[in-house]
């Protein structure tokens, strides 16, 4: 049997944490891009496009992320795509994040006074210019705190990808625990690593919230 010293455990966990960070970033960027598309549908003038986007958001907010990951992992091969845990994890988290981010940003758009749209139109801007130059910059800036808050949620959610076999922090810790039989220490360390990643972001979100002027 291999002996694990305390530092072996820590080193292996930190190496695995790289994948947690990478997955979080990939899902946040991917979720942001897809979320923008959903947002366009969600605030469009067409009633049906708004309904489809609401349905999309409700679907992802009304089902467990674990199920979404399973459906990705087992569903994509049925379409003939070869899929690995990493792909399923990134895609699953991307769609999950897109629904939440679209809803957060929509709340920002909804919070703007309608006069902003009218003012844009009276300056002769067409719809896309209005969005790009007037509406979206303001909507993003007033929803910065919940966006950062969601990033924290996303980082924590990457733990679930261990269940579909993606080798990140939690899956590595399971393996280490099976070798060392020291669950208290191993899971305590994992919790600490997650805390170190998430706490600064939580504090940052809180600061943003405080700095927000009351409207």
């Amino acid at each position: 049997m291999i002996e694990f010293t305390f530092w072996d455990i820590v080193r292996n966990l930190l190496l695995a944490a790289r994948w947690t960070v990478l997955l979080s970033l990939a899902a946040f960027v991917g979720g942001g891009i897809v979320g923008m598309i959903v947002l366009f549908f969600r605030i469009a003038k067409n009633k049906w496009s708004r309904r489809i986007a609401s349905g999309y958001i409700a679907l992802f907010q009304g089902t467990p992320l674990l199920m979404q990951l399973f459906l990705m992992f087992f569903g994509l091969p049925m379409l003939g795509l070869r899929i690995e845990p990493w792909t399923a994890a990134v895609l699953g988290l991307t769609f999950f994040a897109s629904a939440y981010l679209a809803e957060i940003w929509r709340s920002g758009v909804a919070a703007l006074p309608l006069g902003q749209w009218d003012a844009g139109a009276s300056l002769g801007l067409h719809y896309l210019q209005e969005l790009r130059l007037i509406i979206l910059p303001q909507a993003f800036s007033i929803t910065r705190a919940p966006t950062v808050g969601f990033l924290v949620q996303l980082i924590k959610s990457t733990a679930l990808t261990s269940i579909i076999g993606f080798e990140e922090l939690v899956r590595t810790s399971n393996a280490i625990n099976n070798a060392t039989f020291e669950p208290f220490k191993v899971y305590g360390l994992v919790a600490l690593i997650f805390f170190v990643m998430c706490f600064p972001l939580t504090q940052y979100a809180r600061r943003l919230e405080k700095r927000m002027p009351a409207r």
């Binding site: 009304g62 199920m67 087992f74 924290v152 924590k156 669950p183």
Partner: protein, 218 residues
Amino acid sequence: MAFAWLPGALGDIAHGAATTILLIAVTTLAGTLLSILGAAGRRNGPVLLKRAIACYVEVMRNTPFLVQLFFIFFGLPSLGIRLDPILAAMLAMTLNMAAYTIEIVGAGLDAVPGGQTEAALALGLRPRLVFIKIVLPQALKVIYPALTSQIVIMMLESAVVSQIAVRELTYEADMLQARTFRSFETYFVVTLVYLVLSMALRRLLVSGGRRALGAGVS
């Protein structure tokens, strides 16, 4: 896509769903109670208690539920505390939910004007009675929508407790797909069950809240 296995599996799925409902019912009651105590303690308790509650909230909110669950189920036995899977799941869910709802309940308590407490005290009510009869009902009314969302989120999060072999909906799905080799179809059906459960739970809570609190809950 093939669903020939479905009729024979309905019993298992219903059984799993019942366990999920049990889990969330216990968690809702215990979690809300704990968060009322926590929020009250954080406002009126001794300094040490205040600090302990603040730490607890930060730790729970900044670590994944899955890790908390493993810590409780696999870690606590090394301290001599051995829990049944379902008890460990209930404990983990309650502790996790309370961390979020302490903040929510606290915000509700802050939203009740101080004059309410002063008026009640002036009428000669004991401080504890003031809290239970005057402040708390008004606070709950304000925060009820946020509480509802948190309960639904917790219900969805409970899928994770299948990992410590609690026989709830996801666990039954895992067993079914291992038997039928119809992974996608199984998880598809169970996802729909979750969707129905979450919509029904939200509707139940909203109509229940309207009746019990007279809250203008949307």
